[in-house]
């Protein structure tokens, strides 16, 4: 049967039952009931925990991602640096095997890589959210010339060939921080990655928030606040911001995994994080070398599968968060 929307009375009744609860509580209650969402949240949480505890885990495991096992344990490698044991040298000592090339321990490299990638992506997300709120709400609420100007800036930035721009601007941004003569500390590359992705990352969120606050501006309670003489800033802070939390949270859950993959993509192309700093994308770069493709296909599954699990879990989580906020949304 075709006409199969959620039946009308449902939301109504739910609202009645949960009368008196804040939207946040409502969302939380709905979310907790969503088993897929909860499991996804655990998986995502697990990744964050791994990232957070990477130093501790590697201490317990007794290895770090910087040891060059190809020189420490040369008997495990051939002259091109490929592990001689099958399956990428997986053994009791090296749970996920050894990286072809310098023979880093894949397990610690992966958990540190997750740490790096997540750190960058969280920072980008925060930066984008803040910018999105500032510009989106400003455009939507203030309207007029501000709106027009921000709108044109967004149009302009959306016409950028994003990936190409990332590649072209990474060296520039890096050089803004260090003179070409000095070593580029890892944090500079990290900051550059954050800046570059932030620069072309905030527009869609700002557009959504603009729409939301534009709609809110026309609503009675804002009118009321205006009539009662509240300042614009106060209205934005007290009335608008609490009401854009929903689209914001939903968008942020979708954005973060996108930033993770974008960051990994840049490192894959060689303009992001480079060896020996462990990074998810840099592991993909290694995995796509002829050496690995030909000799050690096992290696590529560790970054590959872990990223798929992470992204799938995060997207499922995003769906659940959206459903929890907006149960009417089509699924």
């Amino acid at each position: 049967m075709v006409v199969d929307g959620e039946p009308g009375p449902k939301t109504k009744t739910e609202d009645v039952k949960l009368e008196g609860r804040s939207p946040g509580q409502l969302m939380w209650i709905r979310f907790k009931r969503d088993r897929t969402g909860v499991i996804s949240a655990y998986v995502v949480g697990f990744f964050f925990l791994i990232g957070l505890c990477a130093p501790l885990i590697s201490k317990l495991y007794g290895k770090d991602p910087y040891t060059v096992f190809a020189d420490e344990r040369p008997e495990l490698f051939d002259s091109a640096g490929v592990p001689v044991q099958p399956n990428g040298g997986i053994s009791g000592d090296f749970w996920f095997g050894l990286e072809p090339g310098n023979g880093y321990d894949v397990f610690t490299k992966l958990i540190y890589g997750i740490r790096t990638s997540l750190m960058i992506s969280i920072a980008v997300t925060i930066a984008v959210v803040v910018t999105g709120i500032l510009l989106g709400v400003a455009a939507g609420y203030l309207g007029g010339r501000t709106d027009f100007f921000i709108g044109r800036v967004i149009d302009f930035l959306l016409a950028f060939p994003a990936q190409l721009f990332f590649i072209a601007s990474m060296p520039v941004v890096v050089s803004l921080f260090v003179s070409p003569r000095d070593e580029t500390p890892t944090y500079v590359r990290v900051v550059a990655l954050i800046l570059v992705q932030w620069f072309l990352g905030w527009m869609s969120l700002a557009r959504i928030l603009r729409g939301t606050s534009l709609a809110l501006r026309e609503r009675e309670f804002i009118e009321a606040a205006k009539v009662s003489g509240a300042s614009s800033w106060r209205i934005i802070r007290k009335e608008i911001l609490p009401n854009v939390v929903t689209p914001l949270l939903v968008q942020a859950t979708y954005m973060l995994p996108a930033f993770v993959t974008a960051e990994a993509g840049l490192s894959y192309l060689g303009v992001g994080i480079v060896e020996p700093t462990p990074d998810w994308g840099q592991m993909f770069a290694k995995a796509s070398t002829e050496l690995v493709l030909r000799n050690d296909i096992t290696y590529m599954f560790f970054p590959g599968i872990s990223m798929i699990i992470f992204i799938v879990a995060f997207n499922l989580l995003g769906d659940s968060v959206r459903d929890a906020f907006d149960p009417k949304a089509a699924r």
């Binding site: 016409a159 060939p161 190409l164 993509g265 995995a287 590529m300 799938v312």
Partner: protein, 326 residues
Amino acid sequence: MLRFLVRRFLGAVVILFLLSIVTFVLFFGVPRDPALLMCGKTCNPDSIANIHHVLGLDKSIPEQYWIFLHNLVLGSDGFAQGPCPAPCFGYSYHSNEQVWGTLIDRLPTTVSLTIGGAVCFLIVGLGTGLLAAWRRGTLIDKTATAGAMVLSSMQIYFLGPLALAILVYQTHWFEKPAYNEFTANPASWFAGLIIPWVVLSTIFAAQYTRMSRSAMIEQLQEEHVRTARAKGMSRRYVFFRYAWRGSLIPIVTIFGIDLGSLLGGAIITEYTFGLPGLGNLAVQSVFFSDLPLLLGVMLFSATMILLFNIIVDACYAFIDPRVRLA
């Protein structure tokens, strides 16, 4: 319609103009000197100054920009390497080839990759999405949704090397991807691109499956669809006439964006498979600090994006009679 096109194209030109300025500034923000790359083994300040002069880099940046614009619109005979008719991006520092010629040269690769990939992912993606929406809630739907979820979470930089490792290096079932001209040998053209197509369209198809399924389901919940059912129209009729028509808007939007950015150079795909398209050219231009080439690729890519934006907006008018172009 005409007014719409004129207005949009003018807007696009303004954006391209701004973009070229940004690219210019960006390039001169890089603390590396293209002259160093061309200088060879016996390099010293004199020869660098010389190269600067030959490339015109000794002029002020605004002046260089003006020359760039001038050449772009009117062409130029002033290049040592030869004449450069409009649209003239100049000659590549690295290869000494005309940039426009190089772009045109690389275009068939990117177009082949994009069109072939797009045909695959549209057919597979939309087909699966529609099937899932039609059989909503069944095992077919759930399998398709789960599969699409996983596949759309994959990245070309994983799936691509994986496909290469398994299909090319381990089993030797396929040739290593390469671009062969279609006109020269259609079979080898096809054989060389099949893996990139499959990889590209796997990920995209998954996204289109998800998108078209949810667009269809959303449309099926529209009141006018219910009205059509209430009129006694069959499920199939309503599905393909009413819901599909409404789903076209988001699909066309995303497809336009995808096509525009792919035609501007599918960077990661081309890089992964070593295909000599615009994406690889872009990476190359960055690595060699090749300003004319970088400007050329950047503007070309942005033009594609803008062009498809306009095409998408024009398509809206055909899909949705409420949209009036003006």
